[in-house]
């Protein structure tokens, strides 16, 4: 084998490897990308049945319910146009609270309940996940960042403003 031929084989091998990896990555991508829907999209039936997706919106005030002592918790996610009841079994994240934004991963059950296997409340100091903020903006033409930290008090209080 001449050096040139050898180099050709090397280059061809690398190209083949890269294309194979690319094809596999694209495939993994297509199968594993998770879509985000808001309650309005869910109630319009935009979600393919049985497919896992991420549901985002605000947790309705006073909707959090659990049977005493049970790990299963139920709450309602709303975008102020439509509501979706959610059921989740497990420990809720620290940042989860009524009146704040939430994103849950799971799928729809036949009775119209969203069964979450993961609840995320990862968001910034505005208590609003960016996808939820965008979705609310789209549905209402405004971002309801005012419905914020109702941690200690049931009534929403505005965030402390600096310089007051």
């Amino acid at each position: 084998m001449t050096p040139r031929r050898r180099r050709l084989i090397l280059v061809l091998g690398i190209v083949a490897g890269v294309s194979l990896a690319g094809a596999l990555a694209l495939n993994a991508f297509k199968r594993n990308v998770t879509f985000f829907f808001d309650p309005t999209a869910v109630s319009r039936g935009e979600v393919a049945a049985g497919r896992a997706f991420r549901l985002g919106g605000m947790v309705t005030q006073g909707s959090l319910k659990r049977a005493p002592g049970s790990l299963e918790v139920r709450f309602v996610v709303t975008d102020f146009s439509h509501d979706v009841p959610v059921s989740y079994t497990g420990v809720l994240p620290d940042l989860f609270r009524e009146g704040a934004g939430v994103v849950a991963h799971g799928s729809m059950r036949g009775d119209g309940t969203f069964v979450a296997d993961e609840v995320l409340a990862k968001h910034d100091e505005k208590y609003m996940p960016p996808e939820v903020a965008r979705s609310l903006k789209r549905r209402h033409g405004e971002s309801r960042t005012g419905a914020a930290p109702g941690a200690a008090t049931p009534a929403p209080t505005p965030p402390p403003s600096t310089g007051s």
């Binding site: 890269v18 990308v33 497990g90 420990v91 994240p93 910034d124 100091e125 310089g163 007051s164």
Partner: protein, 649 residues
Amino acid sequence: MLPELGHFALILALLLAGLQAFFGIAGPMVGRDRWSAAVTPALAGQAVMVATAVACLIASFVGNDFSVQYVADNSNSALPLFYRVSAMWGAHEGSLLLWILLLALWSVAVAVGSARLPPRFSARVLGVLGLVSFGFLLFTLATSNPFLRLDPPAPDGRDLNPILQDPGLAIHPPILYTGYVGFAVAFAFACAAMLEGRLDQTWARWTRPWTTAAWAFLTCGIALGSFWAYYELGWGGFWFWDPVENASFMPWLVGTALVHSLAATDKRGLFKSWTLLLAILTFSLSMLGTFLVRSGVLVSVHSFAADPSRGIFILAFLIVMIGGALSLYAWRAPLLKSTAGFELGARESFLLFNNVLLVIAATTVFAGTLAPLISDSLGLGTVSVGPPYFNPTFMLSMLPLAALMCVGIHANWKRGRLSDARRAILLSLLAAAVLGCGITFGIYSNGHVLTPVAMTIGIWIIISSLIEPLYRVRRHLSLPRALIGMTIAHMGLGTGVIALTTVQSFTVERDVSLSVGESATIGGYTLRFVGVKPVEGPNYEGVGGTFVVTRGGKPVAVMIPQKRQFWIQHQVTSETAIRVDHGNNLLLALGEDLGAGRWSVRVQVRPLVSLIWLAALIMAIGAAIAASDRRYRAARAAESAAGVVAERA
């Protein structure tokens, strides 16, 4: 008064950085050595000014000066002193200032360490570094000034984000940034070499210790971040493929490729253009990391800032820097020609595979990180990409990389005769397979199909790395630090592969509901819930749940995970309880009061998870040892002393 002084110092630093860039780049270009000589004083002045600005900001934090907007937003008079200092880099503005300070420190280190380099070349390096400083200083002053005053002053501050009130996070950004910024040095060396048209292998040799040192810091920084996420966020994982984590991981992957490609360029004068491109790419990804994290474009817990003007500025800056470097490359590319050849089985080939696979891994991470952003901005719907995508695609390039490494480590430069090493390769593989399968089926007894494979590869890496150093010790041959460092770093990688495999295959986690006096058994551990009691800290109050943990009837620990409510931001955080026992990390996170006297608690048993962070530390130590090799320090004398000289002891 102090904030104004800091602001003024920052403006002076900007001017001095501009001078540093001008003299460093223009001086050698027009052949004025006196201009080139002015670079060092300009750098010294810039560094002093930046340090002054940082000192002023820290003083404002320590002195609770809530007339400064940034202090009022990120501190509070009840915050302990330690966190008042670390709050300096707790948000966007301060972390940029930290970035600039670290860049100044790296530049000073380069100025001191490159005293033996040709003066024009080192002027160019410092000039390019000055240009980067200038850009970041301009960015800070124009869009993110930390010294802005608040009128009237706030009575008290809004407090540092409670999840950042932790020793791990106090030191994570400085170390991570030291790594990020360190790649600016490799970038500057590459640009200086292109400006000078001196594209032989000398620039690669001069860059190597700097790049390896930066890589060591980045490794430590990423590991610290992962450790912090594990114990502080309360979810108990060590890696979430969160965009911010990916933003630091991409420069790490490409930086690893750069470290290896520099070896081929240094030793054999090969892959010169590829190495230049990698140096540019690594630093670009470091800057992109800053852009992704700090502009708030990504959905992430770390994105505190959400001001698009900043993002646009960084984007413009990125385009200028990367575009400039790439144009320079296009201009100089005709000068690049490799004369050396190599055979298919030679070490060069394996380094090439290493580079290709690492870049593929970085590309898949890049695609997964940016896909949600692209999909969203094109109106294709809001999507998210998580572990189901990242885990398999990442493994797809990493497992072959690890296996090829075990063979390539025995290969010689230039000559592709692996037959000499065939016995060592096969024997080490056999030993690793026996051990790997033994551990998988003997100790842990179940797992995924890939578990024994990955375990074998991890052990194989460790054995393979040890073969050459042991051979040298037995023959009383010299052991250069570069070889010792490389061996340690590779063993660290093997350790990491083993730990990752164990954690991914054998983790047990469950959320349970317990009433006082009740017990639950998870992963062999029995925990009995004793009760909850209130706890109080300087700026929070909360509850702590007491659990008595036993294993097979024998007491292991009393663990008290806490739930804390911070007064100022009304934020709740989990203070997890962690105990290491028989190599298992037992993590408890207290959930909430479920009513009827029951509490929820998250229980995770992760075998060998501590080994992941230890592995990163081992890799970083190895890199540090390699970077301190004598042959890099004697820059000019090195030409003759290069290579490994056999010595009789």
